[in-house]
């Protein structure tokens, strides 16, 4: 036996032993919750049954993954790391130069591609579940990016401002019959007003404390929405919210409806396509304004604040005001998105504004690479698109049997993916920063140097 063969053999033995230990540990981990099942019997009493086959599958799966990682994936990753020149990934300028116009162009023609491919009724899902849903999160991600990515303030209650926007539209539209186009800016203003109101006392706090207080405020707003039944109708929510019209032309089967006016056969997809363009416009507005703000003094002050708050103050920057503008600006875009959400759904309830939403938006921002707008957009596509795909994986029923419901596993996989992605890329997909101004050439800055703020 040669030396290298011996070494290889000892590696395999080692990996097997390692996998064995892993199997033992995972047996312990999953024994109570997977191996045993609590069920309520006919007499309404709780009883236990065993589920050993499932436990065995879990343990075998984990031990197998562990074996694969130690024998195959880790050596491969190490070889790759040895070969690569340890340069952090950053998008080349030429890429972002053509990527942005290309992406916008694609988004503009997307509904028509979908119509051509799967027809009117088939494309409803593609435009609504994928197009509109993802764009809402792109917009929310960009809005929160101002607060977290640029100003470095950790906000875990962002969904509160989304809720304020949605309820502003829902209540004012159903009670006063105001139109979408009046209520959209009004919702944004109300949200940013709330942003300032909540931000003022808490922005002195640093680090995780700010995160927890914003979380608490988010929950307070949700609890108020649940309990103030007179105003919000509680859990039942607000139904029959007026839908937006095409500049006064409603999307219905009437003679003065959209289809009749433009001599089209009526289809509910018309409204969906209109809503799609509406949110596309709003998202692009968010992106454009954010890009501009970054190059203005206020945007530079946000980033400087993230880098070093004390230095900012020594340069005469009023850090409280600067933080408040970031908070208000982020809240405003959430308000826009919220009023769009209410208009699109026609129904809102506190269920749509739980902490999970805040966590999702935050993870989009962090996954995208804090501060990077392209990164945030890509992360929104990956995370929201990914969970939407999991909604209709009915083919899995063919494999796992009819009792298998893939939608149940959606949030489970979502949560675990958040963990994995953070381990894989703790600084996000696009870990570099574009300078806001340059003298000779615009060089991207590796995120190793960029600070993450302490607020």
């Amino acid at each position: 036996m040669t030396a290298s063969a011996r070494r290889e053999r000892s590696e395999v033995v080692h990996a097997l032993r390692d996998a064995g230990i892993t199997a033992l540990i995972s047996f312990g981990l999953f024994l109570p919750l997977v191996g045993l099942l609590t069920i309520t019997n006919m007499n309404n009493e709780l009883r236990l049954t065993t589920r050993l086959p499932l436990l065995v599958i879990f343990v075998a799966l984990i031990a197998g993954v562990r074996l694969l990682v130690t024998l195959v994936i880790r050596p491969w990753a190490e070889r790759r790391r040895a070969l690569s020149t340890r340069k952090p990934f950053s998008i080349p300028r030429s890429f972002s130069r053509w990527f942005v116009p290309f992406a916008i162009g694609f988004l503009v023609v997307y509904p028509f591609i979908s119509l051509a491919a799967v027809g009117y009724s088939g494309s409803l899902k593609w435009i609504d579940n994928f197009g509109i849903q993802i764009l809402i999160y792109v917009m929310l991600g960009w809005g929160l990016n101002i607060v977290v990515g640029l100003a470095g303030l950790l906000d875990l209650g962002y969904v509160a401002f989304y809720a304020v926007g949605a309820y502003s539209y829902g209540l004012l539209a159903s009670h006063f019959g105001l139109s979408f186009w009046i209520l959209l800016p009004l919702a944004g203003i109300l949200s940013s007003f709330w942003g300032i109101l909540l931000g003022f006392p808490v922005l002195r706090l640093r680090g995780d404390y700010l995160a927890i207080v914003t979380l608490a405020f988010g929950e307070i707003i949700r609890i108020v929405l649940v309990n103030w039944v007179d105003l919000t109708n509680g859990y039942a929510g607000i139904a029959a919210i007026p839908r937006p019209t095409f500049f006064g032309i409603p999307f219905n089967t009437d003679d003065n409806g959209f289809a009749a006016t433009f001599h089209l056969t009526f289809s509910p997809t018309h409204r969906t396509i209109f809503l799609y363009y509406l949110i596309l416009g709003l998202a692009l507005l968010t992106g454009y304004v954010t890009t501009r703000l970054r190059r203005l003094p206020v945007g530079r002050a946000w980033e400087a604040l993230r880098e070093d708050e004390i230095a900012c103050r020594s340069l005469g920057i009023n850090t409280t005001n600067t933080k408040l503008t970031a908070f208000a600006m982020g809240a405003m875009f959430a308000g826009f998105a919220g009023s769009f959400f209410a208009a699109r759904q026609g129904f809102i309830s506190p269920e749509s504004f739980t902490f999970i939403e805040s966590a999702t938006i935050l993870s989009i921002v962090v996954l995208g690479g804090m501060g990077s707008q392209i990164g945030v957009a890509i992360a929104a596509v990956a995370m929201i698109g990914g969970t939407e795909i999991m909604r209709d994986m009915d083919f899995l029923k063919a494999i796992f049997g009819d009792t298998f419901d893939p939608t149940q596993y959606r949030m489970l996989i979502f949560g675990f993916a958040m963990v994995l992605i953070m381990i894989w890329k703790p600084r996000g997909l696009i870990a570099s920063r574009e300078p806001s101004v340059f003298l000779k050439e615009r060089k991207t800055i590796s995120s190793e140097l960029v600070k993450e703020g302490h607020g």
Partner: protein, 300 residues
Amino acid sequence: MAGEAMLRVEHLTMRFGGLVAVNDVSFEVHRGTIAALIGPNGAGKTTVFNCITGFYKPSEGRIALQHGDSSAWQSLDQLTDSGKRERRDANGALFLLERMPDYLVAQRARVARTFQNIRLFSGMTVLENLMVAQHNPLMLASGYTVLGVLGFPGYAVREYEAVEKARGWLERLELVDRADDPAGDLPYGAQRRLEIARAMCTDPVLLCLDEPAAGLNAHESAELNELLLAIRKDFGTTILLIEHDMSVVMEISDHIVVLDYGVKISDGTPEFVRNDPKVIGAYLGVEDDEVAEVEAEVGL
């Protein structure tokens, strides 16, 4: 260089809990001079700085700064009694720094500072660092962001001027070629000088430097001396510095204040201070571990 006083520190006392970090210190800094604050480690120098620049609220004492004509001093007591923090008239202005929050000390009283452990925006470029320093005038030019977002042309002109001003400083520091590199990538000595340039971009009347020569080699120290003298000559900025490096202190200061254990023990020209027996005693007679102890207590 004897001009009139522009900064008056009177009976400044700063306590942290039971510890008196600065005890009844008074001194003056004259317009257009370079003054130095020296003393052994833990003597309270940085605390005095933090009080002057508004980062700490002094427990007792008055810190007054004056712009323009020296006649402004006449209204000092009146201003103190009025409870206000500043007073302006045609001849000049008077500020009570202990009443102002840190950012207003920089913005209105125009006192700029650097830090002992460099505080550059390391993930932003060298040029961006100098642009952030011009935040307040640029903010005004961008119509508090509103006009800027809408793309009004006036802002572009002002931004161009700000970039040119930054370019001027970069030329002075011989850093033009590194303008678009992240500040955190600069060598240490260049970071120190960049921090001074960044402070100067706020157009200060008083520049406070906390150990600007710390960690510099002899050659870089000499460059620093030249830079500070040039700043005084070209901009007329008054400089107050904390320094350990005696080659810097003795060579360029007009006036030296010596602190020991939070108390002023000497105050005068370099010549006078050098020969003051109390200063010699303070520098030679203190055990190292005592110094460390005091430092730990003060939290420096």
